[in-house]
């Protein structure tokens, strides 16, 4: 039987990998992908706890997370397309027009 802490460890590692990706990549598309990794890390955690604690609600939350992720991707990609039209680039450091 796999201990729960392994799952937690896995999900933490996955989360960190996603976080590092979000923080280091210049390509906005990849940043968005890394966000998906982070969401998945959370989902793994949820599901593991759901099994080990016999709580079905956690899986419902995962369901919602997936829903929100879908919405987020739709909007996020829309924004990226708009930004690309505007700037001709998907590099995140080109998008600093909010700065004075």
């Amino acid at each position: 039987m796999v201990p729960l802490s392994w799952y937690v460890g896995l999900s933490s590692a996955l989360f960190l990998v996603g976080l590092v990706g979000v923080l280091v990549r210049r390509n906005t598309l990849v940043v968005l992908l890394c966000i998906e990794i982070m969401l998945n890390a959370v989902n793994v955690n949820f599901v593991a706890f759901s099994k080990y604690q016999h709580v079905i609600d956690a899986q419902i939350l995962v369901f919602f997370v997936i829903t929100v992720a879908a919405a987020e991707v739709a909007i996020g990609l829309g924004i990226i397309i708009s930004l690309f039209r505007l700037k001709g680039s998907v590099n995140i450091d080109d998008f600093n027009i909010l700065k004075l």
Binding site: L19, V22, L23, V24, V31, I92, I97
Partner: protein
């Protein structure tokens, strides 16, 4: 309402009508003010006659200020002192009103001028009729304002408004002391009403005040002395005593009628009136009395020495006014209040006469004021010459003219007032000689001798003919005033004006006078006056080089006198320039530099620090996220390791 109200009210109505509707009068301002003034004069004569027989009148008009325990009402009080002053003031004022009709003819500010002299007369009458210190102060300042606005009548000339400012500010400095005196009176006595003050005076006579308590001082002064001296500061300003006198000669920049009315006969005597009115307070303080006496004596002699060398006809008369005011103040200082007021009255008549005469001369010379550019005017201006002669004789104290009686009374009282009295007497006699000299210097230079002006030279834009006698509206007041200058002294002496006045003083005047020295004293002062006149005759009646040579001989003294003892220069150097310099310095350096600098500095600090902090805001989303992550893990570390 009794007719007393009308005495001040009529000039006030005159002022309001002419003042508000002046654009519509178009040179007819006198048709309202002059009749009203004459009516006021008649009423004040009636007031005088009623007071002669009856008790003093007291009318409360309305409550003015009520605040806590502080109550002041505007009231009218007519006692002997007020009544007799009223007669003098309204007489001179009426005559000046009439004189103005001729003198100010063709002046663009004719109607305005009438409005203001009516306002002045109203204020002066109220000043005389006031029954408490604050009311006195109000009209004290009001007459000062009228003086200001009348000096500045010809506002386009720079000397006018400079002189007006000087007059107002010097009076303000005096009033500063006067106001502090009033405040102290209220704090000590709890009232500002004359009769109540005098009632409570004995209880406070030994009170003392620690003036420097705010600075932990311990010296105590007599309250009464402090009050008397503070109030006297006001009188020094208003009556042009040393050291607040320089405004009076400069005030001659105003039209001559107001010089006669305000700066000779009435307003400047307000200081003396105030001292006499408050005589119980002054009597209670020997220190204050001697200060008053010395101030007066010094003013008398200093002004007389200045008058010796002046060339401007009005300035000579102005310095003589100042000198005579010194006489009156000195009289008050030695306790001879009655004599002081007597001299005030006679002086009011003959000095107004001299000024109006001088005005008549100036009028005929089309504005020329330098006596050495006149000469020989007696042929063309017989009435003016005669009346000026009478005025000068009265001023010089030659019997039987008015000045003789009043001046002589002061001198004899001074002589009898103890050891220092002799010094005052000597100063008085010296001043009398100087007075006679410079007065007749003026008369001889202007009216005798050869004509020092060329025909038509001073007549640009005017008729362009030789000096002429003034019209009747101007000569009539001269004649009337000469009559007064002739008779007022004799009448005052004959009807014992001093005794009459003593009824309105709480401290009765000592009536017992040693007869011993009277006649010799009189003789001395008359002789001294004649000497002065003769001296003036020899030096100035005929063309002579002696004055020039003397001026050369005593260069320093001459320059001291000519430059008015350098008072103006001294004030300029010590007060005016430093104040202005300091103001600019403080404004530029401290107000703008330090105070505003701190304010702007705070703003600038915020701006610069924000500008440098702004760089943290890179606009890079990932930077923010990194900082968030670091913060998160930092918090976890804190949670883990520093529990």
């Amino acid at each position: 309402m009794s007719f007393y109200v009308l005495i001040p009210l009529l000039p006030l109505i005159g002022f309001l009508i002419t003042g508000i509707f002046w654009p519509y009068f178009k040179g007819k301002g006198h048709i309202v003010t002059v009749p009203l003034m004459i009516a006021s004069w008649v009423l004040s004569l009636r007031a005088f006659s009623e007071t002669m027989s009856g008790p003093s009148v007291h009318l409360k008009l309305f409550d003015w200020i009520d605040s806590g325990s502080f109550h002041v009402a505007i009231s009218l009080m007519v006692d002997h002192l007020t009544a007799i002053m009223l007669v003098m003031v309204t007489t001179v004022s009426t005559l000046v009103h009439i004189y103005t009709v001729g003198y100010m003819k063709d002046d663009s500010g004719y109607d305005r001028f009438f409005a203001y002299i009516s306002l002045f007369t109203f204020s002066m009458i109220m000043l005389l009729m006031s029954d408490n210190l604050l009311e006195l102060f109000v009209f004290w300042e009001a007459v000062g304002f009228c003086s200001y606005i009348l000096i500045v009548h010809w506002y386009e000339r720079k000397p006018s408004w400079v002189a007006a400012n000087k007059a107002f500010i010097m009076n303000r400095i005096g009033d500063f002391g006067f106001m502090l005196g009033i405040l102290l009176v209220y704090v000590v006595f709890g009232t500002l009403n004359y009769s109540e003050i005098f009632q409570k005076l004995p209880a406070h006579i030994h009170d003392s005040i620690n003036l420097w308590s705010a600075f932990n001082g311990t010296t105590h002064y007599s309250v009464i002395t402090v009050i008397a001296l503070l109030l006297f500061v006001g009188a020094v300003g208003k009556s042009a005593q040393l050291p607040l006198h320089p405004w009076l000669p400069d005030a001659m920049e105003g039209p001559t009628p107001i010089s006669a009315l305000i700066h000779a006969a009435t307003m400047v005597t307000a200081g003396i009136f105030m001292i006499v009115r408050l005589n119980p307070i002054y009597n209670a303080s020997a220190v204050a009395m001697s200060v008053v006496a010395w101030t007066g004596a010094l003013t008398a002699v200093v002004a007389a020495t200045i008058a010796l060398t002046q060339r401007d006809i009005k300035k000579i008369v102005a310095y003589s006014t100042m000198s005579q005011l010194g006489y009156m103040v000195m009289a008050c200082g030695i306790g001879a209040y009655g004599a002081g007021i007597f001299h005030l009255l006679t002086h009011g008549f003959f000095k107004a006469l001299l000024f109006l005469g001088a005005g008549s001369v100036i009028h005929s010379m089309s504005g020329e004021q330098d006596i050495f550019r006149m000469g020989g005017l007696s042929r063309a201006m017989k009435i003016t010459f005669a009346t000026m002669m009478i005025g000068s004789l009265a001023l010089s104290g030659i019997p039987p003219f008015a000045g003789f009686y009043s001046k002589d009374l002061i001198l004899s009282e001074a002589f009898q007032s103890g050891p220092t009295g002799h010094i005052f007497w000597m100063i008085g006699v010296l001043t009398a000689m100087l007075t006679a000299f410079y007065t007749f210097r003026l008369v001889f230079v202007v009216f005798l001798g050869k004509e020092n002006f060329s025909e038509g030279e001073h007549h640009h834009g005017h008729e362009g003919h030789a000096p002429h006698e003034s019209p009747l509206v101007m000569t009539f007041p001269l004649i009337f005033l000469s009559f007064m200058a002739l008779t007022a002294g004799w009448a005052g002496n004959h009807y014992d004006i001093v005794g009459f006045l003593s009824q309105s003083m709480t401290v009765p005047h000592p009536t017992a006078r040693p007869e011993l020295s009277e006649d010799s004293l009189k003789a001395i002062s008359v002789i001294v006056g004649l000497v002065g006149i003769l001296l003036a005759y020899f030096l100035y009646a005929k063309p002579s080089t002696v004055p020039q040579r003397m001026a050369h001989q005593f260069k320093r003294l001459y320059s001291l006198s000519l430059n008015k003892w350098f008072f103006d220069e001294f004030y300029d150097l010590v007060f005016v320039k430093p104040t202005i310099f300091l103001s600019f310095l403080l404004w530029k350096e401290v107000d703008k530099g330090v105070i505003d600098g701190i304010v702007n500095g705070v703003a600038e600090f915020c701006q610069t620090s924000a500008a440098s902090l702004r760089r943290l805001q890179t606009g890079q989303l990932q930077n923010y996220a990194l900082v968030m992550a670091i913060g998160l893990f930092g918090m976890v570390s804190v949670f883990l390791f520093i529990r």
